[in-house]
Structures are given as C-alpha cells and as structure tokens.
Amino acid sequence: MSDSLKTRLVFSLGSPSAKPPGTPTWKLESQRWPGLIEDAAQDVFGTMLGTLLVRADDKGPPAGDVTAMIGLAGALVGVFSVRCSLPTANLLASKMLGVDGAEAEYAARDALGEIANVVAGNLIHKAPGLNDVCFLSTPTVISGHDFVLYSPANSSIFEVPFDFEDSRIWLCFSSVGGS
C-alpha cells in the first residue's frame, strides 16, 4: 500500500486545559531527560519483569506495532510512550504475568499499557518536585505502525531506545511548553 493510500492517525499534544492557570511549570535540562527516563524504566523492568534494559545506540526513529501512551498534566504537560513490536509486547506480558502462548498474547497490549503507566509514575516520583503537581491519564494503546505523533512548536521530544532480550523498545517523552 502506498503512503498516499494509507490512513494516517495523527495525535496532537498539548491541550491548553492540561495546565490550569496558576500551575507552576516544571523544567529539567534537556540533557538530563534520557537519564531520568532510563532510571525510571530500569526500576520498573527490574521489579516487575526481573530483567534490565540495555541502552541502545540506535538513533533511528521509534518503530513497532504497539504503542502505549500516557498523558501528563499539571506542572509537566506531555505524553510518555512505550513502543515495541507485538512479539516483544507478548514477551513483556509473559515475563510480567508468568504466562505463555495465547495467554501472553491476550494480555500483551494491556501489559504494555501498564508498563507505560508505571514507568511514567516512577518518572514523576523520581523527578524532584513533581509529586502532587503532575498527574497521569489512564493508558491508551495503539495497534499499528502508521501514525504520526504531532507536537506543537514549543515541545521537546526525548526518545530513548533500549535493547530488551533480542528486541528493541523505545521509551519517549514529548514535553509541551516546559522541560
């Protein structure tokens, strides 16, 4: 199928209502974001899956059939996402729940959503001063690879690829206005 025939999903970040008037803006130097994302993720993968991620050098764009997204609102506004292939999501579910085969496949998308949720929560917990002033949405999980995440001009995007077993997982944070 040519690109022109594909239906492209476009997600827009940065609803004005995500930051009520008077809410302080929380900022972090750009170079510290990848390390913070990695710290938050390693806790979650170590505790919930009994394995660690390995930071990958790959600078290519995120790819994969499954993307879990969590909205952040309050002092920090944006979207945190975890993206990987469906077989990798199956493997994540298998390790999280101690199940295999069809049971892991059935739980794969929910498992990726829950990983995104807990990593985003841990990110807030680890970022000094964000507790109680930043809040999470429930997870949204997208199946398919042909979509565009549209970010406003005043956004910053941090993409951190990891190796997990023999596959690749991307953790991304798109921050609107602050960072």
Binding site: V118, G121, L136
Partner: protein
C-alpha cells in the same frame, strides 16, 4: 494464621494479576482471590461476603480508590476490613487522604512481593 480471602481492586486486569501473583509469591496463605475493576463493584462484592484484606488502586474510572475507602468506612459491618492502597505516581497528598479516610497502608508501583507481604502481614496477623 488462617488462609486469607483477598479482594483486589484495580481497573487494569494485568495489574490485578500482578498483585495476585505477588501475594501468592509472598508466602501468605491465600485461599481465595476476588477482584473488581472499580470501587462500586468492590462494594457489591463486599456485600456478598467479607474479604480478610483489600488491596485497592487509587486511580480508577468510575468510583476511584479514595471514594471506595470513604464508602467502605460508612458500612458498619465492613469498615474494619483493612485496606492497602496501591499508587502509581506516589502522590503524597492522595496517599495521606486515603490514610485519613481509613486505609491502613500503601504500596507504590512498581512493588515486590516482599513489599506486599510487609504491608499485608501485620494487618492479618491473628486472622
């Protein structure tokens, strides 16, 4: 200690399974696990029979964990059931609100089975 009946309240079926798995790995004797995906359904389950302990998420669509604890405390025959809150972002204000409403402890995600045991065990000793 008798075998426990536990109620797990979380809108994520995956997280309910993770909590159940952690409970079973923690060394606690579990007889039965009930689950609900929001506070309202949890209250309906409690009306049919009392669990020994409840582990509840805070952020849930419908009736959230804070409202669930508030309503549980209003039930004369059920308000003594210990509730442990499970939080994602670790918001201290929400945790404090839950404890003020009557929750007996909290666990922040991600958690280990040891952390689950350490929270639940003191609440069910003597059961």
């Amino acid at each position: 200690m008798k075998k426990l009946t536990v109620l797990i309240v979380d809108d994520s079926s995956v997280m309910r399974k993770i909590v159940e798995r952690s409970l079973r790995q923690s060394g606690l004797e579990i007889e039965r696990v009930l689950d609900a995906d929001n506070g309202q359904k949890a209250l309906e389950l409690i009306a049919q029979g009392h669990p020994d302990v409840i582990l509840s998420d805070i952020n849930m669509p419908g009736m959230d964990g804070l409202e669930f604890v508030r309503q549980l405390q209003g039930l004369e025959d059920a308000k003594g059931i210990p509730v442990v809150m499970i939080t994602t972002e670790g918001s201290q204000s929400r945790v404090m609100e839950a404890l003020t409403l009557g929750a007996r402890g909290y666990i922040r995600k991600p958690f280990t089975s040891d952390q689950v045991r350490d929270q639940v065990m003191p609440l069910v000793k003597g059961e």
